[in-house]
């Protein structure tokens, strides 16, 4: 079943005009904001396919920027997101992507704050639902329907066990999970979708685990 419950059908509450080009775009922008962990200073957005062709009339650009400001899909401030980002001194560039892309509504967002950089690529798959395809170049999937813990670590024995033990100690239930590594014993990324969001305490404990280099919670609720 692609649609799991009644609020996938009646909902989301959103600022128009398009559930896929506006609401979905806002959620993708917000995912990038959460993955970085703070409000970005510099943003580079690369649009592909139908996103690149029709973004202007659908307010896809405003929705993406609103998401980067941590606005939800139904936030009244979405139409004024560009002015607000400008006021906060955030620099944002939009480009049309070339080459292959996996979905007609696809975007790549590179966010930067100080020396910290993060990159999210994902698709808007309809009705405001999204699919994350990449985090920092790792091929990992997430639906954004559940709070998602993204952990970067070195690929070594016992890391996953340590992470999942920390979550189970905090009584958090794992719904879905995906792992990708760039090379054996090299850098790796684990994403875990949870039934409830981990609090900052749990995130800290994950960060203190050996081999873990970076961790963030993407929570679009």
């Amino acid at each position: 079943m692609r649609f799991k419950n009644v609020f996938n059908i009646i909902g989301p509450a959103m600022v128009g005009p398009s559930s896929s080009h506006t609401a979905g775009a806002a959620r993708l922008g917000r995912a990038a904001r959460h993955f970085l962990g703070v409000c970005p200073e510099h943003v580079k957005i690369v649009l592909y396919g139908s996103f690149a062709e029709t973004y202007w009339g659908h307010g896809t650009d405003l929705a993406l920027v609103g998401g980067l400001l941590d606005y939800d899909t139904d936030d009244d401030r979405l139409p004024d997101a560009a002015e607000e980002a400008d006021r906060q001194g955030i620099t944002i560039s939009f480009d049309k992507g070339t080459g292959n892309y996996p979905h007609p509504n696809f975007v790549r967002i590179i966010v930067q704050h100080g020396t910290e950089t993060a990159e999210v690529a994902g698709a808007s798959i309809g009705g405001g639902n999204i699919e994350i395809h990449e985090l920092n170049g790792f091929d990992v999937r997430g639906s954004g329907q559940y709070p998602m813990l993204a952990v970067e670590h070195t690929d070594s024995k016992g890391v996953l066990a340590d992470i999942t033990r920390t979550l189970s100690d905090a009584e958090l239930n794992i719904g879905f999970m995906d792992v990708d590594r760039k090379a054996r014993s090299g850098e790796a990324m684990t994403v875990i979708e949870l039934d409830t969001a981990p609090d900052p305490h749990v995130l800290n404990r994950i960060l203190q685990l050996p081999y873990v280099t970076r961790a963030a919670v993407i929570d679009l609720k």
Partner: protein
């Protein structure tokens, strides 16, 4: 969810003497683990957003971001208030309210996707106008939304609610079917009558293509929402009168998917066919492109 088809819904409701709304609420609680009061509250919040969007579209001048559309809801509403309409004031009011919500959507206002933003006017148009007409309280309307959601859930999972996948029949068509079935239940029709209304409604939109001018959710989307609300009322009336869909409603849902799949991509939300490629559709697209270029410079 315990049900996958419209027939399942009717069977479960009959076996346990439940309304479609009661069944949907029960299943939603089971599926998500969220308590019944919270589930009902979320839907009640959504209904308030729908009512606000109707009010805004009728009382304010809404202009879409492109500047192409706006003001038709007020036009139809004023016309209705001025006296004799062709389709009657109740249907005309539903039409005005549906246009209102779709215009608010096009102006980047707040709406509820039902099931999508492109088809967000039909359910509020039918619901809010009927609430005024029959004097129903909000609780009754919220139950109606759960009934609509149950119907949409079956359509979405067995067919499609995306214009890019299945054309406009999947968005506006689905919304009309959902509104028609819910209307039957809100007027105390049986689940079986509601299901027939869904099939009757969907048969009337089978094959409807998605051909938005310049790719925007405006032309012809807004007008299709207005006319869709009237269709939903008519299909509900057929259902309540005892008219049956000779082709079972689940088979209509299934064939909608097949019709959608056989549509060329030109007619599935790409703006490369249909009204988008008429001489005027092309002219509007060109004009928007020119204006956008000027904005950039």
């Amino acid at each position: 969810m315990q049900f996958r088809t419209l027939k399942d819904i009717v069977r479960l409701c009959e076996e346990r003497s439940l309304t479609i709304a009661e069944l949907m609420i029960e299943e939603q609680v089971k599926e998500t683990g969220v308590s019944e009061p919270e589930v009902i509250q979320q839907m009640a919040d959504y209904y308030q957003v729908m009512k606000e969007a109707v009010h805004r579209g009728i009382t304010e001048d809404t202009v879409s971001r492109s500047g192409l559309t706006g003001g038709d809801a007020r036009r139809v509403h004023d016309y209705m208030l001025s006296g004799e309409t062709s389709s009657g004031s109740d249907a005309t009011r539903a039409m005005a309210y549906a246009l209102a919500v779709s215009e608010v959507n096009a102006s980047m206002g707040r709406i509820i996707a039902t099931p999508t933003a492109g088809s967000c006017g039909i359910i509020p148009g039918v619901f809010v106008s009927s609430q005024e007409r029959f004097g129903w309280d909000d609780d009754h309307m919220v139950l109606g939304l759960f009934a609509a959601g149950a119907i949409g859930y079956v359509i979405a999972n067995n067919s499609s609610i995306s214009g890019a996948e299945g054309g406009c029949q999947a968005e506006v068509g689905s919304a009309i079917g959902m509104a028609a079935g819910a209307m039957v239940e809100m007027r105390n029709g049986t689940p079986e009558q509601a299901m027939h209304a869904v099939g009757l409604a969907l048969k009337n939109t089978l094959g409807l293509i998605c051909d938005p001018v310049a790719g925007l959710v405006e032309i012809p989307c807004i007008v299709r929402n207005g006319l869709g609300a009237v269709n939903a009322l008519a299909a509900a009336d057929m259902g309540l009168a005892g008219v049956r869909s000779a082709i079972p409603s689940d088979e209509v849902v299934d064939v909608m998917l097949q019709v959608g799949r056989s549509m060329p991509s030109e007619h599935r939300e790409t703006a490369r066919g249909g009204l988008a490629q008429t001489p005027t559709g092309r002219k509007i697209t060109e004009e928007l492109r020119r204006r956008r270029q000027e904005n950039k410079n």
